[in-house]
């Protein structure tokens, strides 16, 4: 980042390559719409580049990057929210893509027997999980993603989200409890293999012991 600060374009390209995938995934989770994930990631990179001169060497770059990403996602959600209010006055909302809760409801309908029972697999399972995550609050989603995919400690998440570690702890607890509550019916209905990751869990427990 220090090279980027000194207007080294190639360094910036390297930086983008390193963080682009993680940032897009985060934007898929915390952004207002999936189709905006790449745009928001790009917007985040642009903001990083424009603000490169203000970067302080002591700060961890990922913390700085995800802080900006959180702001970009929040602004986008706010902006879309305003547009949505305007468009709702003029015309009924087009249901092009189902929201997280809608997807979960549809999946639940299927599982209730009104739809043929089958094991949810692959992309569908991912959709269920994504829908569950989407049902979380924005801050819970953000904290969850930073903890799960960026392996950030409570302290680092607190720095990124400008919160206390205690608040982060509570936020993550609520996020995981919510996630459990949202996904548990599918697991209990056998739509989602509850053993997924069980082996990993057991392995982790063994390591801790």
């Amino acid at each position: 980042m220090l090279r980027v600060r000194d207007d080294d374009a190639s360094a910036f390209a390297e930086l983008m390559q390193r963080y682009e995938g993680r940032l897009v995934r985060l934007m898929h989770t915390i952004g207002p719409r999936h189709d905006l994930a790449e745009d928001l990631a790009q917007e985040t990179f642009m903001r990083v580049f424009r603000a490169r001169k203000t970067y302080e060497p002591g700060a961890k770059f990922s913390t700085w990057l995800f802080t900006i990403a959180g702001n970009v996602a929040r602004n986008a959600a706010r902006s879309l929210g305003r547009r949505k209010e305007v468009s709702e006055v003029d015309a009924p909302r087009a249901e092009d893509s189902p929201s997280g809760p809608q997807l979960l409801a549809a999946t639940a309908l299927e599982s209730s027997g009104m739809m043929p029972t089958r094991m949810v697999e692959g992309d569908e399972r991912a959709s269920v999980v994504r829908a569950a995550v989407s049902a979380l609050s924005e801050r819970q989603r953000m904290a969850l993603m930073l903890s799960r995919f960026e392996n950030m400690s409570y302290l680092e998440i607190a720095e990124t989200m400008d919160l206390t570690t205690k608040a982060v702890k509570s936020l993550l607890s609520r996020a995981r409890v919510n996630l459990k509550e949202l996904l548990q019916p599918y697991i209990e209905a056998g739509l989602i293999n509850s053993e997924i990751g069980k082996e990993d869990f057991e392995r982790e427990q063994e390591e801790k012991q």
């Binding site: 207007d7 374009a9 910036f12 390209a13 983008m16 390559q17 682009e20 995938g21 993680r22 897009v24 995934r25 898929h28 989770t29 994930a37 790449e38 990631a41 790009q42 642009m46 580049f49 979960l104 409801a105 399972r125 991912a126 999980v129 994504r130 569950a132 995550v133 049902a135 979380l136 609050s137 819970q140 903890s147 799960r148 995919f149 400690s153 409570y154 702890k169 509570s170 936020l171 993550l172 607890s173 609520r174 995981r176 409890v177 919510n178 996630l179 459990k180 509550e181 949202l182 996904l183 548990q184 697991i187 989602i192 509850s194 997924i196 990751g197 069980k198 869990f201 801790k208 012991q209």
Partner: protein, 487 residues
Amino acid sequence: MNASTISDNAPLDPDDELLVAYLDGELQRQEQSDLENRLLTNEKLRLRLQQLQTGWDLLEDLPGSSPSMKLVESTLELVVADILKDQPTVKKSRMQWQLPVGLFLLCLVIGLAVYFTETTLRSNAYQKELKDLAIAGNLNAYNYGGDLKLMRELSANKDWAQMISASKEIGDISVDNAVDQLTEAPAAEREIALKAMTLEQMDQLNSRWDQFNRLNQSAQSRIRTTVASIAAQPDSQLLLETMQVYAIWRQTLPTELRDQIESNDPSKRRAAIKQAIDRTYFNISRRSSMQLDDETTDWINFSLGVILQERLDNGDAVTKAFYDDLRSLTNVFRTAEDAKQATIATMVIGGSRSKSPTITEQSKTENSQSVTPGNPKRRLPSSQFFSRLERPASLSREELDTIKLPLPENALEMLGVVSMGNPLTELVTLRVWCEEALRRKFMQRFEDNLSLEERYNKLPSERRNRIDLLSPEDFLREMSKPSRSRR
């Protein structure tokens, strides 16, 4: 379903928080141990932990995002566009005001630098000139008074100091106070001292300034060194005053005497100084005699007549014989008064000759004139005649005291100033005054009642040309001489 989720501010089961922290590895060792003990015994808790972990694990199903070079490239394009968009604007806007402002500032800085440099150089040059001007004002002093040993010797010599004091009183030596003020003033005040000068003083200073500037660099440098050396002396002020006076005094002395004074031989130097002081005293006396008023000279002539008469009455054989011899020369001294005057002149001049060779030399001409007044057709007695005669004694100390007694107050005051209380000097001065009194008496006898200008105009052109070259004093003396042509 959405409604069943726990909001950010809703209360949370402490066990859930504990379990999540345990899963995230954020518990302290003791907390972790306690929880694990509980998990061993509490199946419900263990189930909750498992459910929380399952949800966590399911997040793995969230689609990842493979690196997209397209995104990187398009972002880079945007970055470049961003840079290009900003750069010209920045450059243009900067160029719009930076170039003229920069040029203006550059010109301003250069202008100020030139101005201050020039001002400083001028100021330095001006200060240097003021400093040099003070040196030039005392140029002769620094030129001729560089021998500090001699200067200290002179300033410690009482006779010399008295002589200088007398010279100053009589006006033979005058140190220009304006130059003194210029010299003594600090550099910053020299300009004021300069402005306070009269035109005459300025002219004189200007002349010395030209003289200083005509000196070559090494000579100027030598003088500056002398100035610095004198300034460093503890008695610098006294030294400078002595140097100033010495520079003027030495000009009145013959070259040979100057050389002896400035020699390195102490005895020769002391003797020369003494001789020069005597010589100067005589000159002071001469000068003072020129300033005598008619009342004083009348009194002196009257006293001289009384003295002669006393000598004749008291039976001074030599004087009487001399007077009788002159009286016998009826073709030269027609009246008894003429013979008396000639005898008096011999008493005065003869006495002077014995005292001072210089007086003698100075009086030779007048002597001859004093004995040859009257008709040019008269035949003068031969030198053999005078050499045969025994001359009357010169004026004695008592006789000179007799001359001094009736003198007017102003004359006595001048005598005191000139002699500075020195009896010998007083006697010499009185003799010189007697000569002057006699000269004026003879002059009156042959006065043609013409003004100096009329006399000058009547002179033949060759003589006028010669007189034109004389100093004002000599000019006056020459024009005052009773010449045969005027008679």
